[in-house]
């Protein structure tokens, strides 16, 4: 038997090099959009974390057939020399992966994936100009795939008063196009949900577009939270306990997790009497940790901190949607945070625009998906958002066929951890709790437009009836005039005003018979 002579170990970089489609690098147009997406989301995250109003410029230059240079420049804090290599040339390295905070990036893969894609298609390293803490560094970065380690060549170092990061990289096997899946549409949607940023785009044909800033301050910072007890597995507790510096289990639990007070610890004590809460966290056994998780499940907890999550906001979505679509009717939901997998907090924002500019733009049944304000342009078919929209019985809301009506739906999933289906981060996995909440949110918004649509249909019916009745006024008033001797004009005027009154009242009294409240009692506010 020699099957095992070929047994080898591989790095995560080799894995993604062979499976680049898992990073979203499949198709020429999509690949270019993915590159811009990775750098722009990193820039937005970096600026906002440093409290800087983002200014991001994107430049795409065509170097040859399916061969482009991409430059993304931001005014963020830059990256220090000690970390620039790992930030751009090592997968699964960074500040984001392990933090429990709402961010656009959450893997520590994206930028390094671009460095990889650049290198395997052009052989060129990625050039970075980073201004951080008074130092300006220019360097070329590539990767050792076998080791998943960066290779950094420093070109120049000097003092500077600026700050920010510029990344200049070159790709083949990509293509620029102004399609629904291209860079332009990606940035347009990014601007829609990030009104605090100035984003500029220079296209290969030298056309320059500025997506202006419409709000002069950054959104409230989401803050890092400790995990909620309801989202914790036995294995998590043991991992945290192993690295804890606390001397007692009771204080460890209060410090490692949110919402665990001294009072809650004594509840836990009663629920798990076999566990010694005075022991050192490092000595915790699997059986004990399992008892604690069981007890967690029985205690009434306050829900995760709601201000750890920062949605786009009702006002902002309204402003943006009116800007783009100027629809006949627009409903935006504002809902409370929920949890999935037991304790990972998330918020769903939805908006539905109907008619008006949506019809004019000839948009039909358009779904705009976002996660932490980042537009998801690809993999729609495999996304929990799409699947939920498909599962809705639109007829209930007077939408005969979603695909054929002038309707645009926005769904934004905000969370400290978005469960993407793959490292390419373009689709959200079918987590039950998430899908249920998306459904409720969309249904809530749908009820809002339903009234409008049924009102509009009714108004049409009333107008038709009124027209029919009005036809008889002339004849009737002439007949009445000859019968009674009254003046025809007077009678005609009176009859008209009766008809007018009748149909105005009908409009006002329109009963809301079509309203149906189907949502289960799912509001887990306050106590979770």
């Amino acid at each position: 038997m020699d099957e095992f002579k070929d047994f080898k170990e591989h790095s995560v970089a080799e894995f993604f090099k062979k499976n680049r489609q898992m990073l979203g690098f499949s198709g020429k147009i999509r690949s270019l959009t993915m590159i811009v997406h990775e750098f722009v989301t990193n820039s937005l995250d970096a600026c906002e974390e440093a409290g800087i109003l983002p200014e991001i410029s994107v430049e795409i230059n065509e170097l040859g057939k399916d061969h482009y240079q991409v430059t993304v420049k931001d005014n963020g804090p830059g990256i220090p020399k000690t970390h620039i290599g790992k930030a751009l040339g090592q997968m699964l390295a960074g500040t984001k992966f392990h933090r429990y905070i709402q961010q656009r990036g959450q893997q520590g893969i994206g930028a390094s994936a671009c460095t990889m894609f650049s290198y395997i298609t052009t052989g060129q390293p990625t050039k970075a100009v980073t201004c951080h803490n008074g130092k300006k560094l220019t360097a070329r970065i590539s990767m050792d795939f076998k080791k998943n380690k960066p290779v950094v060549e420093v070109i120049e170092e000097q003092d500077t008063e600026e700050s920010g990061l510029t990344v200049i990289s070159e790709y083949k096997d990509v293509r620029y196009e102004r399609s629904n899946y291209g860079v332009f549409e990606y940035l347009r949607r990014t601007a829609l949900t990030n009104p605090n940023a100035i984003i500029s785009l220079l296209e290969p044909n030298s056309e320059k577009t500025l997506f202006p800033r419409s709000i002069e301050e950054n959104p409230k910072r989401p803050f890092e939270i400790r995990p909620h007890p309801l989202g914790i597995t036995t294995h998590d507790i043991l991992e945290f306990a192993k690295h804890s510096t606390e001397t007692r289990l009771s204080s460890f639990l209060q410090n490692a997790f949110s919402r665990v007070s001294a009072g809650k610890v004594s509840e836990l004590r009663d629920l798990a009497p076999e566990v010694n809460f005075r022991k050192k966290p490092g000595d915790l056994t699997w059986a004990e940790a399992e008892k604690i998780v069981e007890a967690f499940g029985k205690v009434k907890w306050i829900a995760p901190a709601t201000d750890s999550l920062v949605p786009i906001g009702q006002q902002q979505i309204e402003a943006s949607f009116r800007n783009i679509f100027n629809p006949d009717v627009l409903v935006v939901t504002e809902r409370s945070p929920k949890v999935y997998r037991g304790g990972i907090p998330f918020v769903i924002e939805t908006a539905i625009a109907y008619g008006g500019g949506v019809s004019d733009a000839n948009k039909k049944g358009e779904l705009m998906r976002f996660a932490n304000k980042v537009p998801l342009l690809f993999d729609a078919g495999g996304c929990a958002i799409t699947e939920t929209i498909r599962s809705i019985d639109w007829k209930r809301y007077n939408i005969r066929n979603f695909e054929d009506e002038p309707i645009a739906v926005l769904v934004n999933v905000v969370s400290v951890h978005v469960p993407y289906t793959s490292a390419g981060k373009q689709a959200i996995a079918n987590e039950e709790d998430l899908m249920a909440e998306i459904k409720f949110a969309v249904m809530e918004a749908s009820r809002g437009i339903q009234k409008f649509i049924s009102g509009k249909r009714k108004a049409n019916e009333i107008a038709t009836k009124k027209k029919v009745v009005s036809r008889y006024i002339e004849q009737l008033s002439a007949d009445l005039a000859s019968l009674t001797g009254e003046k025809k004009e007077k009678l005609s005027k009176k009859l008209s005003s009766i008809v007018e009154d009748k149909y105005v009242t009908m409009k006002d009294d329109e009963p809301e018979t079509t309203e149906r409240i189907e949502e289960e009692k799912d509001e887990s506010e306050g106590e979770a």
Copy 2:
């Protein structure tokens, strides 16, 4: 600035622990199916590679609420002590990732992912009993997630005459159910496409099912091939060249890639005169390698070796489909291999069954997806196969609405590298060449059933006409009898046979007016 105090490096095991949905571990029923899937595909691969007729038994025991033990036992070659830890407890390690051969597994992640999932939900190591080369080893295996390294505890070693691997592991947060997404359906479909295997299942309710072997020999072995020049990037050439022991570029090219002969090298020489084909492969520059790739694109190559791929086979699919569905009509395509991304060979097999047992089973518009004979039960929405099926204009083939007709479509993608959308391997990425070929294959099969359906409709029409005409025979023969004096019975018989003849002929002469050949000239057989 202290954003970088939190900068950390992570292992691929930590990544997948946090993003277990990318491995397919989302949802309780799906998670259990994924576990069985990983072990069964490994067993089938191991048996077939060792030339052993596979016998695989799967046992699911319920230990508590959402808590199960899974045992998968095979009669394969087993795994030696030196490799058992890495095979079950280290991600991206194995014999499969780097080989250019049609296999079910291709990542070296699956089994270790199960070990991870077992450990984080139950704290239990995975138990392995491996009989390899006369030695029987029993061991417990877990993982150090931070390092992505296995932790092996040897329990017992002894001599044996048996061979095979048994893996016994325990999971929480999973559930057994006989649904369309459960273990039973997964194994049923596996049996459908792997008739050389005996597969048995013991369900938690102690019900035992045997999926018997219907072919007494293993399929022809697919063999490992060298990459085809048309699938090669500049970076690939340089990587291969760096590790080559050849002394000259010309011989390196002939040995590293398939279809490169001495004659082809001299063509390459003419196309890339600036490259010195006598230089050492290790000295090749990016620019030179790029010229070679350009020249590769201009040479006429023989297509990739067709026998490197082993489809299920027309006969076998027919037998299986008749077994399951006994349809009114069944069409199975047998097409030549194609390449995607320039040079990765693949074959598409399709089958369409219509009517008969498909109607009886009340199946409507069913799509059965497979990749290298492995059933794909999940992520249908994000899969290139589903998207292709949706894009077909079924009305052309007399299918009014795919979802409403008694039709079952099988698509099997066979390749040395299947481009999955994520590490969970349940959906295929939207590679253009793949999708085009899937479409042609399904269209080819559709034309076959179209004839049948239009024939059936015509037969119905003829039967109706015949019935109408026959109604007049009695009256006509009575009238003719009184006019001519002939016996009514004789006339009636004669008239009947005239009608009979007329409509039999109509059936035979049925012109095939509905046949439309739409496929472009895509047959790239012989020369690619």
